[in-house]
Amino acid sequence: MDFDLSEELKQYGKKVREFSLKEFSNKVASIYDIQEQYPDELRIKALKEGIIDFSNPWKTMIGIEEMCRVDPGLGISVTVPFFGAEVLMLHGSDHLKEKYLGKVAAGEKIMGLGVTEPGGGSDVAGLKTVARKEGNKYVVNGSKMFITNGTIADFFVMLVRTAHPDDPAKRHRGLSVLVVERNFKGFDSNKLTGKLGVRATNTAELILNNVEVPAENLVGDEGKGFYYIMEFFNISRIFVAAQSIGIAQGVLDRTTDFLKNLEKNGDYVGEERKFKLAEMATRVEASRLLMYKAASFLFNYNPNPTLTSMAKGYASETASFAAETAMEITGQTGLNSEIERFFRDSKIMEIWEGTSEVEKIVISRMILKGDKNE
């Protein structure tokens, strides 16, 4: 067993860290945070400098962690224009891939994923947005809530209902994925402001009023949308684990500096604070190992949803634990530093792409079903 990353990945991580340290200064990050503004120029810069590399999922994961370690809001903003791309990659027609994905990779377009609705996020199959087939198009009506890139994305990979099964227990059938462009008639979006954290990211409500979507924009097969989205979450949760570990490592770095400084100045540190630091560091390490294990299954085409949910669930709880503990250790110094921003950013990790409770539902269900997780 080898716990070390390859030399190539280490070098890549180093490069991302250097870029992030240069571009995501506290000053820059706090301006985007206060103004709740999307850092488009940083997205372009990261693409141009080869910092975003989606050709290798290990690189994606490590890159996300390194960026979020320097600043979560900016790190996520820079990597999220591709959100939902895997659904198209795995199930989209060649035409859709060429038309939409190529432009995202070239930095010309931004995409988003529309699953959650005002009535619910955890209960994916309970969604209400309906797509009615009329000739060679779908007519879509409904709304989506909390959609990242909602007012800046050019198109969305969107989950909609195309059929109504008679048996309510089978409601996860009859869902389909469509690519919906912002400039389709009847599409509207409202930016949501006043988020606790990740305020550089763009979040919106989407309104779909008789939006006509060409039938060729159907991704994969009609009725299989629910499974495609669940499959997607089993990939994207690894990346949320990476965001979370970046946050946890980021506050650990800053707390360590704070305590080292106290020691250097001959000030009192005490075992209480040292023990808390030890606990933070242990949980960060454990989360990262869990993420690497889940990733090694997933990236070798042998996904293990139990491990993926464990990695996401545990890492996200570690992020908010570490951020809260850092605030406790650093007190008013933390209040007046980047640590308070990390603290605000951390809490979303336990909510998006499956709340902590949803992860536990998945894990326990799989274990009880007999998935031995080997």
């Binding site: 009192y268 209480e272 809260e324 605030m327 406790e328 008013q332 209040l335 998006w352 709340t355």
Partner: protein
């Protein structure tokens, strides 16, 4: 509970319901309005703990705890605003027998900022006599501040808004940069520490008020929000956690709102309520899902405020050390 305490509780509750509830989010965004400050003064909440010969109401400790609790449930910023003026400023002015300043305080001519970054072990103040950075209370014309010489001063001066920074918590109070013009020494750092120890029960009241405010909202929400065709309250992880949090809260409130609560018990309550309020408000946010993350829903502020308030008035090392020494009856938690 004595009659005065009952009366104070219902007066504070009514006030919060009538003047704060509907504008709680506005207070977060724009600060505590001068109309609200005026009403707080008129109703005698601010300065209430001052003795009658100083112009106050000589409010008893239990009534003060109930008042702060009721305000914190709706607006932690308003509760903290009253706390800082009643537990710190009034006490400082009273020991100095500074009647003129007390009169100015009670007439609303003076409004105090609070500044003690260096109070916690190892934390430093980056201020000088020229500027005090990030003083709590953006509308202050005076400040009680701990300076790098380890002394507490009463400072007069001017304030300026802080640009490009939004505080984590107590946003209704806001922050400012304060430019001292005159300062009078009040005492050593220890006098401030002593005031904070003596205020343990009041601090616990704010923490528990914050917790109750967030849990009340969560009880309502988990009754009506449905996932998988069931209200959230029907799920064990939600219902059991809420039951656990409500139980802890109830037991702590029972202890806090007793006439018999002594110094050690109040200290224990401060310790417990500081971590409890973080736990309760975090679950409150979590059970609101994505909506909990948005300011409009008025839940995330409780989480922010409990963490920020902890950083400002709760000192995890010193307060625990003090409690440990009380428990052992001997100096403990030191090497």
């Amino acid at each position: 509970m004595n009659e005065q305490a009952e009366l104070m509780r219902s007066a504070a509750r009514e006030f919060a319901e009538k003047y704060l509830k509907d504008v709680a989010t506005k207070i977060e965004r724009e600060g505590i309005g001068s109309d609200i400050k005026e009403k707080i003064l008129q109703q005698g909440f601010l300065g209430a703990t001052l003795s009658p010969d100083m112009g106050g109401a000589g409010l008893d400790p239990l009534s003060q705890r109930l008042m702060l609790f009721e305000f914190a449930k709706v607006s932690p910023s308003v509760s903290a605003y009253i706390f800082f003026h009643n537990d710190i400023v009034s006490k400082v002015l009273e020991t100095r027998s500074d009647k003129e300043s007390i009169r100015n305080l009670l007439e609303g001519k003076d409004n105090y900022g609070i500044y003690w970054p260096g109070l916690m072990e190892g934390a430093k103040t980056n201020s000088s006599e020229k500027v005090m950075e990030r003083v709590i209370n953006s509308s202050c014309n005076k400040t009680i501040g701990l300076f790098s010489d380890g002394k507490v001063y009463l400072v007069e001066g001017k304030n300026e808004p802080v640009k490009d920074f939004k505080p984590l918590g107590l946003r209704g109070m806001g922050i400012c940069n304060f430019f001292p013009e005159k300062r009078v020494e009040y005492g050593k750092k220890e006098v401030l520490e002593d005031l904070l120890i003596k205020s343990s029960g009041d601090i616990a009241s704010i923490f528990l008020g914050i917790a109750e405010g967030s849990l009340e909202k969560t009880m309502e929400y988990t009754r009506v929000r449905k996932t998988f065709n069931e209200p959230l309250k029907n799920y064990e992880p939600v219902a059991f956690k809420m039951a656990e949090l409500e139980s802890e809260l109830e037991i702590m409130k029972y202890s806090l709102f007793s006439d018999e609560a002594d110094e050690v018990r109040l200290l224990m309550l401060k310790n417990m309520s500081a971590s409890f309020s973080k736990k309760a408000t975090k679950y409150a946010l979590q059970f609101h899902g994505g909506y909990g993350y948005l300011e409009d829903f008025g839940v995330e502020k409780f989480y922010r405020d409990s963490v920020a308030l902890s950083a400002i008035i709760y000192r995890p090392v010193e307060d625990k050390r003090f409690l440990a020494s009380k428990i052992y009856g001997d100096r403990s938690g030191f090497l």
